[in-house]
């Protein structure tokens, strides 16, 4: 629900890197979205679409890659991908796949990372 500030952060990161590389245009942006980040990728995509108007990333294709929730179980010590039950939750329930425990440490899956961009730039730059 704070897609606006996230979108702004993503755009800043993209434009900074694009400018540092003398890009004239950004063709593609890949963003990793953790399954546990409290944002809705659809809403994020919508807001990004509005905010990139009139920038060099205006026509960029935005690719979202989902990063699963990686956990360590406090009960059985299982380490790996969690079961996420969000059938009736907006915020998913994080569960150990081995013993069903809800008592888990989250090791990965909370972040939003701008991974890479594909840019166009002049030959001699």
């Amino acid at each position: 629900m704070h897609e606006l500030s996230m979108a702004q952060g993503i755009i800043n990161a993209v434009l900074e890197t694009a400018e540092a590389n003398n890009a004239t245009e950004v063709n593609e942006v890949t963003v990793e979205v953790g399954r546990l980040a409290m944002i809705n990728p659809e809403q994020l995509e919508f807001i990004l679409g509005v905010l990139i108007e009139n920038t060099i990333m205006e026509d960029a294709k935005i690719v979202f890659e989902e990063i699963p929730a990686e956990i360590e179980c406090n009960d059985c010590k299982f380490h790996g991908e969690a079961i996420l039950d969000d059938s009736d939750h907006y915020a998913p329930l994080v569960k150990c796949p081995e013993c069903d425990s809800l008592s888990v440490e989250t090791l990965n899956g909370k972040d939003i990372v701008v991974k890479n961009i594909v840019i166009e730039k002049p030959d001699d730059a």
């Binding site: 629900m1 996230m6 406090n74 915020a91 972040d111 939003i112 890479n116 594909v118 840019i119």
Partner: protein
């Protein structure tokens, strides 16, 4: 002519907030200040808890009152003669470490030994934003329905203390406070859960005790 290039960015959008949260914490620790932040739905009793802690302890407390429009809560807290800074989030649904950092600049930190942050009423978004506090307390009330805890698992998994408030109203609204306690324990076995009626002064001593334990 032009060429196409694939360029690594590797920028974690969450890092900016984390860095600022660490900075806030360091700033507070340099001044020996303990910081607790309250999260919870609108109307769960966060401001009431801030007021009760001010009135029932001898700590020199400063308050950051976050809200979409913060002046109402800030005005209530001011009446208790402590320094308070209202943090307006405007459109946003959560406080972030940047806003808190500016709030801390406006508090007389040299004269304080505790800072209480009241977050915006929301059980979802604050999860993504550490503020730099030592202790996070989530305040829910039975009037939100006794399925509130199980519906918002992550905030309960990531908070240190759970306060189930307004138990005086449990019968009136047909809510089972003990179910909420059990749900919180199931989600976070190490969490401290306290049932309270801040209206009747029930549970307040226990909340203060938990804060003091965390200070040591």
């Amino acid at each position: 002519m032009h060429q196409v290039a694939d360029v690594e960015v590797a920028k974690n959008i969450m890092d900016a907030n984390k860095r600022l949260a660490d900075k806030n914490l360091k700033n507070l620790e340099e001044k020996d200040i303990f910081c607790v932040d309250f999260v919870g739905a609108i109307g769960s009793g966060k401001t009431t808890l801030v007021e009760e802690i001010i009135d029932n302890t001898d700590y020199k407390i400063g308050v950051l009152a976050g809200d979409v429009i913060s002046k109402f809560d800030a005005g209530r807290i001011e009446k208790h003669n402590v320094p308070v800074v209202g943090l307006n989030t405007g459109k946003e649904c959560h406080l972030d470490a940047h806003l808190v950092g500016h709030g801390l600049e406006d508090l007389p930190l040299d004269d304080l030994d505790m800072v209480i942050i009241e977050n915006v009423g929301n059980l979802i978004c604050p999860v993504d934003f550490d503020l730099g506090s030592h202790l996070r307390i989530v305040v829910v009330s039975v009037t939100e329905g006794d399925d509130t805890v199980e519906k918002h698992p992550i905030i309960f998994q990531t908070s240190d203390v759970v306060v189930i408030n307004k138990v005086d109203l449990a019968d009136a609204v047909g809510a089972d406070a003990d179910k909420m306690v059990a749900d919180a324990k199931k989600l976070n076995p190490n969490v401290k859960v306290i049932k309270s009626s801040l209206k009747q002064g029930i549970g307040l001593d226990e909340i203060i005790q938990v804060i003091e334990e965390a200070m040591n």
